[in-house]
Symmetry: C2
Subunit: 167 residues, 2 copies
């Protein structure tokens, strides 16, 4: 491979490769079976085609959100801008402290919607594919809410960053 | 939803929301059944856990690469840096002109590996989940090759961009 260094250990290879890859940051929320808000920061959100409109994301089945997510019918996907840095950090930290009283509300379906994000998509879970200790969650887009344009929040090399034009 | 504009049409909602989301850019390659190189630019590549190391990506089943991909045992995932802009554009354009004589070679497994990228992961396809006209491809990481650090290539609002620190 010319100038590249071989890494025979696949775990090391995955980690080293993805350190060179950047991802958009989003937050997925749903309601727990007893009606409490549940959510987490996700860097795996991606479109799965527009006809019909589908979205997929990955989640660890050992995460605090999984027991609620696997029972949920609907979830909300929130895209984030640079003004949402504190929210992204909070939704990736202690799961008992992710929701603050005035920064979200329940919609008519009971889904917790976060305020101040750049957009929200209401998703209906269509299929969950369990793979080892993880899952791919495949969802239909039901409807959405879009805000003012803002520079997107990204994750790269264990830090939050934004975009810049190519030189 | 406070300051957000509702979009009842789910296709419009998906498009408007994902215009606010940025994605890392990668290239997936494999060999066709008759040994020709096949590849495409992908913005859906994401990790699916590290124990064991897994990667997923999405692909349209109507794409030129699909007939080869669905028969392939192995694929190569290439992460891209800002120096790979021309390659990213070429691998998203006319599928008969994606490979140039001196910018790739076949590895021992017959997989086409592109030169000059920031890293390569050799992936073994574990499961393909067909969803409408698309598919989620779930792969085990076999080994990898990692190059020098470089600013990553991203896709946002139909343009290639890179990362910048938060202000």
């Amino acid at each position: 491979m010319n100038e590249l260094t071989p890494l025979d250990n696949p775990v090391e290879a995955l980690k080293a490769s993805f350190r060179l890859h950047a991802s958009g940051v989003a937050i997925v929320t749903c309601s727990s079976p007893d009606g409490k808000p549940v959510g987490f920061t996700a860097t795996s959100v991606t479109s799965l085609g527009a006809t019909p409109p589908l979205v997929s994301f990955n989640v660890a089945r050992g995460s605090s959100s999984w027991p609620s997510l696997e029972k949920a019918e609907f979830v909300a996907l929130h895209t984030l801008g640079v003004s949402n840095l504190e929210l992204a950090n909070r939704m990736a930290a202690d799961h008992t402290k992710r929701f603050e009283p005035n920064d979200w509300h329940k919609d008519a379906r009971g889904i917790p919607l976060l305020h101040g994000v750049t957009s929200v998509l209401i998703l209906k879970i269509r299929q969950i594919v369990e793979v080892e200790s993880n899952a791919v969650v495949i969802c239909d887009v039901v409807e959405g809410f879009v805000g003012a344009e803002q520079a997107p929040l990204l994750y790269h090399q264990r830090s939050y960053v934004t975009v810049d034009k190519l030189a």
